[in-house]
Symmetry: C2
Subunit: 299 residues, 2 copies
């Protein structure tokens, strides 16, 4: 287990480095006011933690022997969407967070107008990257990626989830309500990451359905662990304050299930996620490793 974890950690780091280099290439520095928005995009998108979503996309695509030159581009698109959402969520009118990954959030390092525009530009560039022929020679594949990403990110996905989160913060959600919120707010993009890899690799419908089922379990486990870390984690390791959910009397998995109940549920979901990948045999080891990683992560 120790060895499996260590070898997964090396793998996700290696993949993150590929994504970092590609994102850097997509965001070349410029002079003047146009340079300012690019600098803010770089602040929000580079040096960015685990890169779990890009890892899922690339690892899923690897199972179908998709060239890395393609999967890394699609991975950059999903990471740009993730980073734009963090920039906008951190704004004073939204979650009002001054810190992100232990550094000033974009509106603190720059200003609010620049943060709004940098988020808009990252969101737009994600679709630009997917539409470019370099992402896949078959335009139908590129369109399928853009369509699934737009659905995961839009009003019936991530944006809708953020809207519910803002307007439900002080309400008491039951377990079904909180699972629905999670499915939209964080689950949709994690689901896209896994199926996006299948799409880049031109996997069949059955394989893509298996990836979707894996990612749905994984996304829910991810959110439960997030709630556990907010309740019991280490602020320094997390790079953000803890205890915020309880301070806001927010309904969370920890509040509804208790610490042990939440941990048990996350563990069961991780096992279920891995079982969804049985059909892929040994080729699924990296995705199975990601499921274990989500459970044991400390930040």
């Amino acid at each position: 287990m120790q060895t499996a974890a260590a070898s997964f950690d090396a793998l996700i780091k290696e993949t993150a480095a590929l994504v970092e280099a590609a994102l850097d290439g997509f965001l070349p520095r410029r002079e003047g006011p146009l340079g300012r928005v690019v600098d803010a995009m770089r602040h929000g998108a580079l040096d960015g933690g685990k890169r779990l979503r890009p890892f899922l996309l690339i690892a899923a695509a690897d199972m179908f022997d998709a060239p890395r030159a393609r999967s890394v581009r699609a991975a950059c698109a999903v990471e740009m969407i993730h980073c734009y959402s963090l920039i906008h969520d951190d704004l004073p009118a939204m979650d009002d967070s001054d810190l992100r990954r232990g550094r000033p959030s974009v509106h603190k390092a720059f200003d609010e107008a620049t943060a709004i525009l940098a988020g808009d530009a990252l969101l737009t560039q994600a679709f630009e990257i997917l539409a470019e022929p370099e992402t896949h020679p078959d335009a139908a594949v590129r369109c399928a990626l853009a369509l699934e990403l737009a659905r995961a990110a839009g009003k019936a996905g991530m944006v809708g989830g953020q809207m519910i989160d803002i307007y439900a913060e002080h309400k008491t959600f039951d377990l079904a309500g909180i699972e629905e919120l999670q499915r939209l707010k964080t689950g949709a993009l994690i689901r896209f990451s896994a199926i996006g890899g299948g799409i880049v690799g031109q996997a069949g419908a059955d394989a893509i359905a298996a990836l979707a089922a894996y990612a749905e379990d994984l996304g829910l486990a991810f959110q439960i662990v997030d709630d556990l870390l907010d309740a019991f984690g280490d602020a320094e390791a997390l790079g953000k304050p803890v205890g915020q959910d309880a301070d806001m009397d927010k309904a969370t998995f920890v509040k509804l299930l208790g610490a042990e109940g939440a941990r048990d549920k996350a563990r069961a979901l991780v096992e279920s996620a891995k079982a969804r990948l049985a059909r892929f045999g040994a080729r699924a080891e990296p995705l199975k490793g990601a499921a274990d990683f989500v459970f044991r992560r400390k930040h």
Copy 2:
């Protein structure tokens, strides 16, 4: 001339009604917090004035006999991008405008968080619409639309222009600087509208180049008229305050060229725009009418 203007006015109204109905269909109302973001999107996107960009797209596509079912969808995508940019530009951190088209702007009618999310959702849905098979049976056409729209809207297009506008407000721009700002901030999306119609209609490269040249002249004329209306227009007809550019000591075409100089330049650009369409003969009448319309508009 009176008759040509009247018949154009009827044509643009008729096209706007098609776009309005299609946008309404893309934004079905919902209950609960998800319904709130849709309501804000509807506030920002429906009942929306002239619909010049959709008109350009549909009129250009008509020249190549593209089915309206396709061109209206692409027109909705460009209008969603236009409307998202207005919602975000109106935010307190940006232009801080309480009024838009004589009604409260989205952050006044709802709140800032909802306005940010509604803008994000419209931006995302524009790409969702373009990627859907209903927009064109050939995925290469859909990808070309998404790619051109992303380039027009992103950091080297509209967002970049807004960034320059914010950081250059109190600077003295020369004519070249102001033309570059306009080319990015408003020109890129107008240019997309015209070439987008050509792409939907699978026009050849020469025809698309002619549409681009037309739209570049038209976009510049549009901005010069905007400056003239801000300096000399009627606040009630415009649905927004006038004299703001002068109050902010902003460099404008009126400030740099004088009222007569600006009017002469706009007139010359409109004539040049129309001349770019010579190859299309009588089929280009609607687009030529749009150029005249831009010059004579009062709001």
